[in-house]
């Protein structure tokens, strides 16, 4: 079966937007899928908005740019405002209600609204909201195996102190949402 998933992840610099994108792309490659990862780069990354686009596909990927995403992960208000016009009816949208107003009118039918930042804060790991979203994303759309994502998280955070355990905990938290 052909798999093609176009994901846009967006938030402000420091929310681990690019890290989340790389973890997803690495997981896809581990399962011998094609993956293209395109970050926003440069000045906008410091305190401003950051976003990245990931395409995961069982076939060859043409352009790494995404016009209409299958998945939008919006971690702050400007992100949702920026990308909501690009949504289609079948798009799945993950909304961080800690930083986004409750009232939104989207073309997409599937929305998963949780206060991801608050949940992360309550767990004592403010920066892991991105991994909680990853847990939830994978629960809703299992485009790669859970074990592969866990391996990808471990690989990504290896050599970065004791944060593997914390991120795995965040991942489990997201899976339980």
């Amino acid at each position: 079966m052909k798999l093609e998933l176009k994901i846009i992840i967006s938030g402000f610099g420091g929310q681990g937007i690019l890290s989340l994108g790389k973890i997803i792309a690495r997981a896809a490659i581990k399962e011998k899928l094609h993956a293209a990862y395109m970050p926003s780069y440069g000045a906008e990354m410091r305190g401003g908005t950051a976003n990245c686009k990931i395409i995961v596909s069982s076939g060859e990927i043409a352009s790494p740019y995404i016009n209409r995403p299958d998945v939008l992960i919006a971690l702050n208000q400007p992100s949702l405002d920026k990308f909501k016009t690009k949504l289609k009816e079948e798009s799945a949208v993950f909304i961080n209600t800690s930083l986004i107003d409750k009232e939104y009118n989207l073309a997409a039918k599937k929305t998963f609204s949780f206060p991801f930042s608050q949940i992360a804060k309550d767990l004592g790991m403010e920066k892991a909201a991105n991994i909680i979203v990853l847990g939830k994303l994978l629960k809703e759309i299992e485009f790669v195996k859970k074990e592969t994502v866990i391996a990808s998280i471990k690989e990504y955070f290896s050599g970065k102190g004791g944060i593997i355990t914390r991120n795995l905990k965040a991942f489990r938290e997201g899976q339980n949402l």
Binding site: K22, A25, R26, A28, I29, K32, H34, A35, A36, Y37, M38, P39, Y41, G42, A43, I61, A62, S63, P64, Y65, N67
Partner: protein, 365 residues
């Protein structure tokens, strides 16, 4: 006492794909190709490459220099290459403009070197968005004098790797500078890449011309200054002979032209990837869309394009510029063929949908 450092060059053979950006892939290719001198000056969107070289050169015992300017960097490459060392520099559009004098000297001295341009928006300092507006500069000169660079334009991270390996071989074989013309898209995007050992098409030649100390042999002289009657002309004719040989032997392209194609889209580098999306998006039309992608921008595949376009009613050139490669397409196809153009520049990337709209509105298919 000096201890010999153990060199860390990853094995060529590995079936495990790694996620890598185009910039990093160029760097790893250079290391694996035996490049042992890199000088560069920071500029977005190619900074990852400079950073990568700063780490990897140390692993393999090569020289990494963050130069004080782009001019210094290209002239350091000029010097390193004179000694027979494989040498590389990289930059992005405004920085490449600064390097042009050095590039002309390197070409005049017939020295091998690899120069990477991850293009950004121009003119002037422009912005850091992707662009293909340095086509003229790369293929038609840039610096002064009758010289050519061999210009390779990768369309993927994997090609950023293989073309850099090829670039070092071509540079040595022809004693000519090679440019890897990528852009912010190819440089910044990450894809899975497997390090396959490239086929060595070019036998390694001993660099008998290199400046290695003249003890026990006549001295070598490397220069681009030729005074005296007709001496420079003779040197130029020798260069021209080399360029003709390269034009004959090194043309590379990719094409996918279905039998009933009604439209041929010509694009290179990252825009070829977009062209593939366009062709797929128009797959349901009665007529099909063909694709043609030059991989060497100099030498440009004039004859191959002429052949590919034969019998196709409409041609569309897509570039992130206002029509630079378009001129070479016109040269290849002549005045009687209808050529349309879609271009955006200034750091903006065209969207597949707007090009499809353009094609349908202009009834190109």
């Amino acid at each position: 006492m000096k201890t010999k450092k153990k060199l860390k060059v990853h094995s060529y053979f590995s079936n495990k794909p790694v996620l890598m950006t185009g910039n990093d892939a160029v760097g790893e290719a250079a290391i694996k190709s035996g490049c042992r001198f890199y000088a560069g000056y920071p500029i977005t969107p190619q900074n990852e490459l400079t950073a990568y070289m700063s780490r990897r050169m140390r692993d393999v015992g090569g020289v990494f220099i963050q130069a004080e300017s782009e001019l210094a960097a290209i002239n350091m490459v000029f010097g390193a290459s004179s000694t027979g060392t494989r040498a590389m520099t990289s930059s992005s559009s405004p920085g490449i403009s600064l390097k042009q004098e050095g590039i002309s000297y390197i070409a005049g001295c017939e020295l091998p070197a690899v120069i990477v341009n991850a293009q950004r928006g121009g003119p002037g300092l422009g912005n850091i968005g992707p662009s293909q507006s340095d086509y003229f500069q790369a293929t038609k000169g840039g610096g002064h004098g009758d010289y050519h660079l061999i210009v390779l334009a990768p369309t993927s991270v994997e090609e950023a790797f293989t073309f850099t390996v090829l670039g070092f071989d071509l540079a040595d074989y022809y004693r000519n500078p090679v440019m890897i013309l990528s852009d912010a898209i190819i440089g910044q995007m990450a894809e899975g890449i497997v390090f396959k050992k490239p086929r060595r098409e070019y036998p390694k030649k001993k660099k008998a011309w290199a400046l290695t100390g003249a003890r026990g042999r006549p001295q070598n002289i490397i220069r681009s200054l030729y005074l005296g009657e007709r001496v420079l002309e003779k040197h130029n004719l020798k260069l021209q002979e080399k360029y003709h040989l390269i034009e004959k032997k090194e043309v590379r392209f990719r094409q996918c032209v279905p039998e009933n194609a009604g439209l041929l889209v010509v694009a290179y580098g990252s825009m070829y990837r977009l062209a593939k999306d366009i062709a797929a998006g128009l797959n349901n039309s009665r007529k099909r869309v063909g694709l043609f992608c030059p991989l060497t921008l100099w030498p440009f595949p004039y004859r191959a394009l002429e052949k590919a376009a034969k019998g196709i009613k409409n041609i569309l050139v897509v570039e992130m510029s206002y029509g630079q490669m378009l001129e070479d397409v016109r040269l290849a196809l002549g005045k009687d063929v209808s050529i349309s153009f879609f271009g955006r520049a200034g750091g903006e990337v065209p969207e597949g949908e707007e090009i499809i709209d353009y094609i349908l509105k202009k009834k190109l298919l």
